[in-house]
């Protein structure tokens, strides 16, 4: 192919733009996104979760989550008849690589529970932050301004669900952002995208056409630790009473 100077001058900016898209991995920010038009949450359908760990791996790849810490993880419960209040729970490496084969299945029931930030409307973590570095965005996502966070870990202590950690390298609070960089561009979260069974569904509670509304009408859903009154927005279908 013969490339003259004219071709070269045309191709360079085109290549630069293409490279920018490759780096971002997603389209440019949508100028039409209005925060006040959305109120984000998540629907987690427990009977559909097969414990494959795709969501955990996708989250870690998408958000560069450090080893040993988790923005989302999957727990496997084993609840036996005589031990309802004291289930056996495991989550090896956050369930990232799946789970060991189930043993003694006849003695009780096994099920998987994906966990993540509940993006609470009355979040105790944002309440305690001494500088307001963590906040609830107008579209209902609990975020951390990591350029402002002191790294005091008070929010980590205040979260009833164990969803926060202090990033070992950045030394600031880190947590699930509900893939804010994706959902504001019209995409779903990395974990929802990777889930092979549709056990996780991003939900926009302000969008009347979102399937969440039909689902909530026809199913019995629950949030984790409702007694905490945090206004959690991770809605669980088929949540067993033994789940903590």
């Amino acid at each position: 192919m013969n490339i003259n100077r004219r071709h070269f001058l045309v191709m360079m900016p085109a290549a630069a733009i293409a490279w920018k898209y490759v780096l971002a991995g997603t389209p440019e920010a949508s100028p039409n996104y209005a925060m006040t038009d959305h109120w984000w949450g998540m629907l987690i359908d427990i009977p559909k979760c097969i414990g494959c760990g795709n969501c955990v791996r996708a989250c870690q790849a998408e958000n560069d989550v450090p080893d040993g810490y988790f923005r989302t993880w999957v727990e496997r419960y084993l609840v036996t008849d005589v031990n309802l209040a004291n289930p056996e729970v495991i989550s090896p490496d956050g369930g990232k690589e799946g789970f060991p084969a189930a043993q003694e299945e006849d003695k009780g029931k096994y099920f998987f529970v994906p966990k993540m930030c509940n993006h609470c409307a009355d979040s105790p973590c944002t309440q305690v932050c001494p500088v307001g570095a963590t906040f609830i965005s107008p579209d209902g996502v609990v975020l951390v301004d990591q350029t402002y966070c002191l790294g005091c870990a008070y929010c980590v202590q205040a979260c009833p669900y164990g969803c926060r950690y202090v990033h070992p390298q950045k030394r600031v609070a880190d947590k699930c952002t509900l893939c804010y960089h994706r959902i504001t561009k019209g995409l779903t979260t990395a974990c929802c995208e990777a889930c092979p069974t549709g056990a996780r569904q991003l939900a926009d509670l302000k969008n009347p056409n979102d399937p969440i509304h039909a689902f909530l009408k026809t199913h019995v859903v629950q949030v984790l630790k409702p007694q905490m009154a945090t206004g959690a927005k991770a809605f669980y279908n088929g949540l067993d009473g033994s789940v903590r």
Partner: protein, 396 residues
């Protein structure tokens, strides 16, 4: 996973608040307690403890200067700490720390010490030479009038500052308790009694620290210990310690009787991981023994040498108890999972920013600062007969 029993949420395995956060309420408590002892003299006219008045104020100042250090060193980004002053978050208990701290340091403690020492500072600025003279001159802040009328105004102002200081001391330490007590996520911390327990344990630790320091310094100066003074301090210590212990037991009994969803988890922890620090150190050694010894002094007439030994032993054990209590609250509150299904282990590092050596250094630092303060602003006159007297016992 090493050190983990049962199931912990994966982000809970490492503790986020270290031994430095144990020191923070301990040091703040010493400040509040020492100040309350000083207020006994000025506000409540307990003349017998006057020899410790100035030492109590200087002790409070020395520890207050160090109080924010463990917090700051613990931060992931200590350089951002000033943001707490510049953009405080109004709903955060921790955000108020900066303001309560500054208020207490500048408006209460430094102001009261300055008012109390002003006459001495003016005299020292005239009798010393060289850099000391310069220093004392600066410390007078240009106020060199030491006429009787002027000193009477100082006295009155000092009384008002102390009066304001008592609730301030309660707020300073009560709020530290509130930081823990207001967290609904953690049942080990979540209790409306927490600020009250913190205040009373602060008074106990601060008063016994000043008593020990007074006895130690007097001994080092080869002077006679003022027995009515230490007897009175021990009496107050005994009564406040009873209230403190009763409150802690009330909290414990309430938890046992209520036995909510967290009880089994917490009970297991107290019987295993916290058994030594809570049951043995805090309750048996640090509370029962000193309470028994201090009660003995109240009901039996014992010779001065025995009483002195009892006060030293009780004082030391009380410090152990209060430090253990801080440990049990801060570290204990992070050893169990919020799922109530498992337990982790605290692995204290040695020579890191949040390690054991740093904690020891931060415990010694206030004593070094106190040494400088005592040299700079001597709390006592030595008379020819070797008696120790307060330089200027406030008007009683």
């Amino acid at each position: 996973m090493s050190g983990v029993e049962g199931y912990m949420y994966p982000n809970e395995i490492n503790l986020y608040w270290s031994v430095l956060i144990v020191l923070y309420p301990y040091i703040t408590g010493l400040v509040a307690g020492a100040f309350i002892l000083a207020s006994l003299v000025r506000i409540f006219h307990v003349k017998a403890v006057a020899p410790t008045y100035r030492l109590a104020l200087l002790t409070a100042l020395a520890f207050l200067i160090v109080a924010p250090l463990p917090l700051t060193l613990h931060l992931g980004h200590p350089e951002r700490a000033p943001e707490m002053y510049l953009t405080p978050h109004s709903t955060s208990a921790m955000a108020m720390f900066g303001f309560v701290y500054l208020w207490y340091l500048m408006a209460v403690l430094v102001f009261e010490i300055w008012l109390d020492y002003r006459r001495d500072i003016v005299l020292l600025s005239q009798s010393t030479t060289g850099w000391k003279r310069m220093l004392y001159r600066v410390m007078t802040l240009g106020s060199t009038n030491i006429s009787e009328r002027s000193l009477a105004i100082d006295e009155r102002a000092g009384w008002i500052v102390t009066l304001v200081g008592i609730p301030s001391a309660f707020i300073l330490h009560g709020y530290v308790g509130f930081i823990f007590g207001s967290l609904k996520a953690n049942p080990w911390w979540n209790s409306p009694l927490m600020p009250v327990v913190f205040i009373f344990s602060a008074m106990v630790s601060g008063i016994s620290a000043v008593m020990l320091l007074y006895m130690l310094i007097t001994k080092l100066r080869k002077l006679r210990i003022d027995m009515p003074c230490v007897d009175t301090i021990a009496k107050y210590l005994f009564y406040i310690f009873i209230i403190d212990f009763s409150l802690e037991m009330l909290d414990l009994i309430h938890r046992i009787y209520e036995a909510d969803e967290s009880f089994r988890s917490i009970s297991f922890m107290v019987h295993t991981k916290l058994y030594f620090s809570q049951i043995v150190l805090q309750i048996y050694i640090g509370t029962f023994i000193p309470l028994f010894l201090l009660a003995l002094v109240q009901v039996k007439k014992l010779p001065a040498t025995v009483r002195k030994s009892i006060y030293v032993v009780s004082g030391c054990l009380i410090e152990v108890a209060v430090l253990s209590m801080r440990w049990n609250v801060v570290i204990g509150g992070q050893l169990f999972s919020k799922s109530f299904l498992g337990y982790t282990t605290y692995k204290m590092s040695l020579i890191t920013r949040e390690g054991l050596f740093m904690a020891i250094a931060l415990t010694i630092l206030p004593l070094a600062i106190l040494w400088v303060l005592v040299k700079l602003l001597p709390p006592w006159h030595e008379t020819e007969d070797g008696e120790v007297h307060a330089v200027s016992t406030p008007t009683l």
